[in-house]
């Protein structure tokens, strides 16, 4: 539990660190590094300097006290308390660290002191030195900083005890000044460090920013940008690799484009050949086979009229019926292949015929408006639109469950727009998968003519198929 919490925290920290920019990261490293270094240094220095200075203070205090004790012996022995006090005052005056000095007799009575008015209660008994001891030190808090109280026996304690108090205030002040200096230096170094870091960030981020911009351009399909190699470091290598990649991409893109052009040309050729072939066969069926069958039918009718033999007449009637059926079939096949009306009369007549047949076959009502201003469209546009609408109607009959369909072909100034719209159940991705080739074929046909196809559908509210194909603006066409 604890571990996972820890991991959680780590992950959260990582997220926060990861989210900031490289600039902030590098600046952060500089700031944190500099601050940690200087704070550690300051703390350590403070500690060792304090210790050293305190030692010095103590030993100085001891020597001052011992000196005082030695010089005070005579005064005490001759009971010259005035001189004794002079001595104390002098000691204090000569050593700024000394905040007080006094002398006790062996019974602990105060013989002389440097306190102006009253002697602080309890101070006299606070520190005690054995007569045999060299000295005794006591550190206490006076309420105005730490004070070292040093006691030294006078004349082996037989005459009394000399005591002085040394203040640490001076040391504290010195250390404060020292620390301030360190901190000031830190700030100065930090500023320099930040300037250096900013420069570093600039150095690092400039090529990266450039790389990002170039990558975006490549993603958009523009393979022209090349990035500069700013330095011989890893980022420079990245720039080289990027440039190599881009030229490779550009090359393969060009190959892809060439192939696409070739594929289109091939497809165009195949489609054109297919339409030609269909047109030829349809025409042949329509003009020759159907005519022959009609002749056959008329001939059989004549036979039926002229002949007196009842058996022959019945036979002729049967054959006539069969011929009629074959004629109908041939007619349908020809229409399915490519209606002659498309070539002879143009798209409006062909669409009308298509819609007519489809309506009859599917029992779905179709409303069609073909509005081309009485002018023929380019042949390939006519064919493409016819085939697309044919395919669209086939799809509607297969999947849409529509009750009615609108077919619309309209000419605008320099494009022709076709819409096939049904009120069926809307596009089902599953159906689209089945008719993938059909839909792709329609789109391909439109795109081969620089047109585009859009399908709009919402469940329950039908499907609309839009085709836009640009057509050359013909002169003298002032509507």
């Amino acid at each position: 539990m604890t571990k996972s919490y820890g991991e959680n925290l780590l992950a959260r920290i990582w997220i926060v660190i990861g989210a900031v920019s490289v600039r902030v990261k590098i600046m952060g490293i500089v700031i944190i590094g500099t601050l940690m270094l200087s704070v550690t240094l300051a703390l350590q220095m403070r500690a060792s300097v304090t210790r050293l200075m305190n030692q010095q203070l103590e030993s100085r205090g001891i020597s001052i006290t011992r000196d005082l004790a030695a010089r005070a012996t005579d005064e005490i022995l001759v009971n010259d308390f005035y001189d004794l006090r002079q001595l104390l005052v002098e000691t204090q005056a000569n050593n700024p660290d000394v905040i007080y000095a006094f002398v006790l007799d062996p019974n602990g009575n105060i013989l002389a002191h440097t306190f102006g008015e009253g002697f602080p209660v309890g101070l006299a008994s606070a520190n005690w030195v054995e007569p045999t001891q060299h000295h005794h030190t006591l550190l206490f808090d006076s309420g105005q900083g730490l004070v070292w109280d040093i006691a030294v026996p006078i004349f082996n304690g037989r005459v009394g005890t000399a005591r002085i108090g040394l203040s640490e205030a001076a040391i504290a002040k010195n250390i404060f000044i020292l620390t301030s200096q360190v901190l000031l230096t830190t700030i100065f170094v930090l500023v320099i460090g930040l300037i250096a870091a900013a420069f570093l960030v600039y150095l690092v981020s400039r090529p990266i920013t450039e790389l990002v911009a170039a990558t975006r351009a490549v993603a958009q399909g523009d393979f022209t940008p090349r990035v500069r190699r700013w330095a011989d470091d890893e980022i420079g290598e990245l720039a080289d690799a990027f440039n190599a990649m881009t030229s490779e991409l550009a090359r393969s893109d060009e190959i892809r484009r060439e192939r696409e052009v070739l594929r289109r040309q091939l497809l165009e050729g195949v489609i054109a050949a297919q339409e030609d072939e269909r047109r030829r066969i349809s025409r042949e069926l329509h003009d020759s086979t159907a005519q022959n069958l009609t002749s056959l039918m008329v001939g059989l009718k004549n036979m039926d009229t002229i002949c007196d033999n009842a058996q022959v007449r019945v036979q002729a009637q049967d054959l006539r019926a069969i011929t009629g059926q074959v004629l109908e079939d041939v007619h349908n096949i020809a229409f399915q292949l490519r209606p002659t009306v498309l070539d002879d009369l143009g798209l409006p007549a062909a669409i009308e015929r298509l819609v007519h047949e489809w309506q009859k076959r599917c029992q779905i009502s179709v409303d069609s408006v073909v509005h081309l201003g009485g002018k023929r469209l380019p042949e390939n546009v006519e064919t493409a639109l016819y085939r697309i609408i044919q395919e669209a109607l086939t799809n509607v009959s297969r999947h849409a469950h529509a009750r009615s369909v609108s077919v619309l072909v309209e000419r605008r100034t320099n494009e022709v727009v076709a819409v096939v719209e049904d009120n069926g159940k809307g596009l089902d991705p599953a159906d689209l998968a089945v008719d993938r080739l059909g839909v792709a074929g329609m789109r391909e046909r439109a795109e081969l003519l620089s047109g585009k196809m859009t399908i709009e559908s919402a469940p329950g509210s039908g499907t609309s198929l839009f085709i836009q194909i640009p057509i050359p603006y013909t002169e003298g066409e002032n509507a």
Partner: protein, 216 residues
Amino acid sequence: MTTRILLADDHAVLRAGLHLLLENQPGLEVVGEASSGLEALDLALKLSPDLILLDLSMPGLGGLDALPALRKSVPSARVLILTMHDDPQYLRQALKQGASGYVLKKAADQELLSAVRAVLRGDVYIQPSMTRVLLDDMLMDTPVAVGDTWETLSEREQTVLKLVVLGYTGAEIGEQLNLSIKTVDTYRMRGLEKLGLSSRAALVRFALKKGLISAE
């Protein structure tokens, strides 16, 4: 008095069959056979027949192109179209150019003779399976009670419908008017409902009639 008939069809065997079929009928006589529109025009002028049996697709000058000239130069001759084409547009054009009848070849054995008789009577004979086209045309031309319903539409509805008429996709309309596709759809539905129209095609027809888009 016999009825003089001119046959115009590029298919010789069929012509022969038709010749026989017609001549077998009392009172019908085939006076000439032409295999192209030009030849038919030529013979018609020369023979001035009572009836011309005209195929629509012939090499050179086709039947549809020869028809106006035939009607103009030999107004007394009635023209009966005998063709493979069951496209509504051919029927319309033939009738517009002055044909008195239209029979499909696939029904030649059964309906041709009735058609010939009807046309000679002065009636018009149209292949029964194709009369539906003419009825539809007529119904479609009947002016719907449009009134001024258009004016009852809100400005937004009018704008949306105009763009729908021009064949823009829902997405394109939405983009142009800064609306969502759903909103566009709602405007469109409401507009169509107010106009009493059921489909995009009906709307376009309405717009053409109303002159909302130019009929070029």
